[in-house]
Amino acid sequence: MKKLSKMFMALTVVGALLAGCGSNAATPSQPQQQSGGTQTPAPESNSGNAGAETTSNEPITAVGSTAMQPLVEQVAKDFMAKNPGLQIQVQGGGSGTGLSQVSSGAATIGNSDIFAEEKKDIPANELVDHKVAVVGMAAVVNPQIGIDNLSKQQLIDIFSGKITNWKEVGGPDTKVTLVNRPKSSGTRATFSKFALDGTEEAEGITEDSSGTVRKIIAETPGAIGYLALSYINDSVKALKLDGVEANGENIATNQYPVWAYQHMYTKGEPTGSAKAFLEYILTDEVQKTAVKDLGFLPITEMKVDRAADGTIKQK
């Protein structure tokens, strides 16, 4: 009997802990919203839209892409410093979460590294796209392979599993190990669309976080994967594609085609503080400093325009 009651007690305690966690997780968003709502009116925002209505101090929530999170957080911090009293809350959760939260109205801004049109079941026509930066991606390999260039066909053959040994493309006799992103990932979608011409990737190790992908590629002989340029360091080797290096200049002219916009979607045209915030991100002040410092490419320097279906137009 004693044992049974002991066990029951243990279960109860576990349950109570679980319940505690559950309610904790649900609460944080509330107080912040309240504190934002009850805030005393702030001095007029200095971003030019004088005559700001009462809505201009409404707290902004920007949810979505974890790749964009550092950038949006940095810019939000600067913007809040300039506009005391304004609350901007930046959350991760992934591009899919961002798009669905903004289209349901739960978030003011949805951060996404893919076009809303590319995700099924998102009412893309209700959303307004604000492209705020560009991120380049490159195929990266373990430095021991000693290769620094692959043709597109070679890359396709490697990622589709046709080439399984590095000696077939002029490297050492080492087995190819693919490091993929999950099927739902925006990075994977971009890479497969522009570097692999839409070829289905073969099965490989799958990891979500860029840091882990880099660590695995750096430590596994024969590993190949892909990373945003901001994540590439000396521990891995970024490959040229058809002899073109992945850098700002080549991406600006689309000579290097593997890049993606960083989108901030709003439901309908933005108003009040959200509008001011999105305008602020596009100023030279932000584009030349925060955007570049965090490894993104300024949208203002792009010489081409890419539509959701991938067609390129000269600006």
Partner: protein, 313 residues
Amino acid sequence: MTHRTDTPSQSGIARKMLTSNKRQWTENVTGRLIATVCAALLIIVVLSITYFIASKGLSTFFVNGISITEFLSQVKWDPEGEPAVYGVFPFILGSFLVTTLAALIAAPLGIGAAIFMIELYPNFGKKVLKPVIELLVGIPSVVYGYVGLTLLVPFIREQFDVLGFSLLAGGLVLALMILPTITSVAADAISAVPQDLRNASLALGATRWQTIWNVVLHSSLPGCLTAIVLGMARAFGEALAVQMVIGNTTKLPGSLLDPISTLTSGITLNMGNTIQGTPYNNALWSMALLLLLMSFVFIMILRIIGRKGLVNK
């Protein structure tokens, strides 16, 4: 509530206890109220979580029209393909394989350590081993995962000339994680065996080892099984540590050294990138529902073991 002492030695106190006291009455009522509210809240939370996961998870089958048998048995997982295929069998298999592997490694080690701690060197066990094991319980799972990724995966890669990310790596990391749980619960079970039983066995001429094997282990068997099932329940639900070392491929593994996916890693890798309400997202909820059902099964097994243990005594 109506506890009274039967020794009215000091009449003052007795009178005080027998006459109704308003303050005590309010204390009693509020105390009971608080406890009831806590219990009710707990039940509501558990029920609503279950309802929420079930409604999301079942809509895969009833709203999106994916057949349950195909969902459970197909080996192809391609939710973004045309047509989309939702086969979660590789995930289910992965979850069961790593959990079993972890239990196979951790159970003998854990019960062995418990015997050492209680039967062989009780002083050392209580002063050194027990605190160390309690410390191990507190290490966050991400740390286990990171250690596995940094040490275990390269080790397996060099030893066997394979990728390193594997079923074996996942099983070993999980075994390490559940070892403290198994050890401490098994130790409690073994120390609950009455000393009389040991004395009787020794008096009959049994050696110390015969006593431990035939008497102590035998009578603490339900407790040791509980320890193993508790460990397996933790291993089955663990996401982060496993995800970091297991490779997450949806191909069926050919050996212990091949990478694989688990239900938990499948969910964590894809949840943030999928849109709520889409079949893809719902399929992930169905996987969460499977996990929930499995934890119910584990709890039921625990209950059954507990009851059997009672009957044996």
